[in-house]
């Protein structure tokens, strides 16, 4: 930690009074900065929520007002009746849940093989996975579309889901994690004659919960917020996810007027699941860098 708190401190190189005054100023400055920046970071979200309860004229005339007058749920009502909103939600849920659960399973399976199982070619596969990690996603949009179409998966759930099922970074995280846990438990199970899959499934996976949760959070957040991949893998509006649907709303493809309350209502609603996930796992997300992955 940086500055000493000044609560106790026999240290008296300058005069005590002087250093105490210095520290008080430092603390006041710190708090003013923190509060100022926090306002800048939070205020936009407050505005978003408030505006979604405004009427359109009210939102246009008074974009800063923190109290809607009148309070109106028209935006939500319109979203529910006038748009395919529920279908977008359904599609997002289907895609996100499939991707998340399968990815956790497949990443951990591969990570385990790379960390624990001895076989020729292992190093090569791992090197390939690391190389693949370095390819920037946006560059792959056209290539992925070409392949999805070639395989006849275009405009189907399969094309939206299957390419997202595996991520190299997740395999990497799992491998690192498995390498950090002691091998002794597995060995005794192996001597007892347990099959490799059984060891992985009922001994190793339960121990790997922290890493699995990490992959779960990353995958959920990543696929829920994904836009570009869904743009190139499907075109029917019946396959719109929330991101794609709201993107179309935003660019006015689905109606006229500025309709800010409607758009902001949609944005707020689509943020709820990732926000909820964030608050549930807040501890571990905020701590993940200071070693939680290494547990």
């Amino acid at each position: 930690m940086s500055a000493s708190t000044g609560v106790s401190g026999p240290r008296s190189l300058p005069t005590t009074a002087q250093s105490e005054r210095r520290q008080r100023i430092a603390r006041t400055l710190t708090y003013s900065f923190l509060i100022a920046v926090a306002i800048v970071y939070i205020f936009p979200f407050v505005i978003a929520v408030v505006t979604s309860f405004k009427t359109e004229p009210n939102a246009t005339a008074d974009p800063l007002g923190l109290w809607p007058s009148p309070v109106s749920t028209t935006a939500f009502h319109d979203l529910y009746t006038g748009q395919d909103f529920l279908r977008w939600v359904k599609n997002s849920v289907i895609v996100t849940l499939s991707v998340t659960f399968l990815r956790v399973f497949l990443d951990s399976l591969a990570g385990y093989a790379l960390a624990r199982l001895q076989f020729r070619g292992r190093g090569l596969v791992f090197a390939a996975i690391v190389a693949v990690m370095a390819v920037p996603g946006v560059v792959l949009l056209i290539p992925k579309f070409l392949m999805i179409r070639q395989l006849g998966m275009y405009d189907h759930y399969s094309g939206m889901i299957v390419p997202l099922l595996v991520d190299a970074a997740g395999v990497f995280i799992m491998k690192n994690f498995f390498e950090s846990i002691p091998v002794s438990v597995e060995e005794s199970a192996r001597i007892d004659g347990a099959s490799i899959f059984r060891i992985y499934w009922s001994i190793v996976l339960p121990m790997a919960r922290p890493a699995l949760v990490t992959i779960f959070i990353l995958s959920f957040q990543g696929s829920w917020n994904e836009l570009a991949h869904f743009i190139i893998s499907a075109q029917s509006s019946s396959l719109n996810t929330l991101t794609k649907g709201v993107a179309q709303l935003a660019s006015g493809q689905l109606g006229s007027g500025n309709r800010y309350p409607l758009k902001l209502a949609a944005s707020c609603l689509m943020t709820i699941p990732v926000a909820a996930l964030f608050f549930i796992f807040q501890r571990r997300i905020m701590n993940v860098q200071s070693g939680a992955l290494k547990e």
């Binding site: 930690m1 940086s2 000493s4 190189l13 900065f33 926090a38 970071y41 505006t51 246009t60 800063l64 497949l106 399976l109 591969a110 093989a113 199982l117 076989f119 070619g121 292992r122 996975i129 693949v132 920037p136 996603g137 946006v138 560059v139 949009l141 056209i142 290539p143 992925k144 579309f145 070409l146 392949m147 179409r149 070639q150 299957v162 099922l165 595996v166 970074a169 997740g170 990497f172 994690f177 490799i196 990353l218 957040q221 917020n225 570009a228 743009i231 190139i232 709201v246 800010y260 758009k263 902001l264 944005s267 689509m270 943020t271 990732v274 964030f278 905020m286 860098q289 992955l293 290494k294």
Partner: protein
Amino acid sequence: MLKRFREPGIRGHEAAAGWLFLLPVIVILGVFLILPILMAAWVSISDWNGNGSPLGAHAHYVGLANYRHLLTEPGLDQNNFGTSLRNNLYYVIFVVPIQTVVALFLAVLVNRRVKFVGFFRTAFYFPSVTSSVAITVLFLFLFDPTGAINKLLSFVGLNGPAWFYDPDGLFHIIIKHFGVHNPPSGLANHFFLGVSYWDWLAGPSVAMSVFIVMAVFTTSGTFMLLFLAALQNIDDSINEAAELDGASEWRKFRHITVPMIRPTIFTIVTLGLIGTWQIFDQIYVGTKGSPLNTTLTPAFLSFNASFNSNEWGVGAALAFILFAIIVFFTIITRIVTRDRDTVRKRRFRGALAFVGIRGDR
């Protein structure tokens, strides 16, 4: 069981299981990453126009024509390409340093022993979990010509610009204040990639500046966490020793903190470079390249050339040029940071993956 008795059997078993466990990953990465890259490489040297399969009779080999078309042939495509490069270059030049400094600043603040530190960390990180779509919609509202930001500015007597509708470059606006309204002919008459020198020097347009602000807003929290981890790795005793010697806060920061976290700074700059060259979602949702193409980016242009103009060869060539640009910058930062981060790297990698996936934010 048999395998208990035959040692080679166990190993054989293990190899089979190993490949089986890896099979889904190998197949999916192979089919949706490696093969597509090869296919797109072929499209980029073909004249395929979207009809039928690019592997069928509709596509013919044209050599490097698509690359030449973008790099050397004057015309609309080259002009768009040059413009998109200029736009993205300014985006990178502004976003990367600003987000790095802001993230470090925030990390230093929330690393202090203050009350409600959890609340502040959460507040700064929260924008990072939201989707680019939701954030862009929010910014479209805030920066509407009659929106919240301009209302705020009007309280202090300022007339805000039209933000997303304003194509004027920041540098052009600044020199206008010094009385330079028309470009010197030397700058206006010389072109690089179809864009005049004068336009190369325009700076980011006002519209692009809003995207710059948005990028800093959404990524600084993520990078703050990385910096925070690095700051917490610094041994307290070093700072305490410096304090005993009477070092000021700034000197401690400058001469202890910054050198100690240098590997993290380099990492964040690299991640920033990789991410900022890929900006796509925000443009797609927000402006689609307008006004006057000043928010056009190579990623969006590549998408647009392929999916909307059916110039698949050009689109694919653009994607590979973008790839080359990103690789180039990654290598540059690698060279700069080499031999500095051998020990820390391993510990850091896992945490990096947490952020790296969201590189485009």
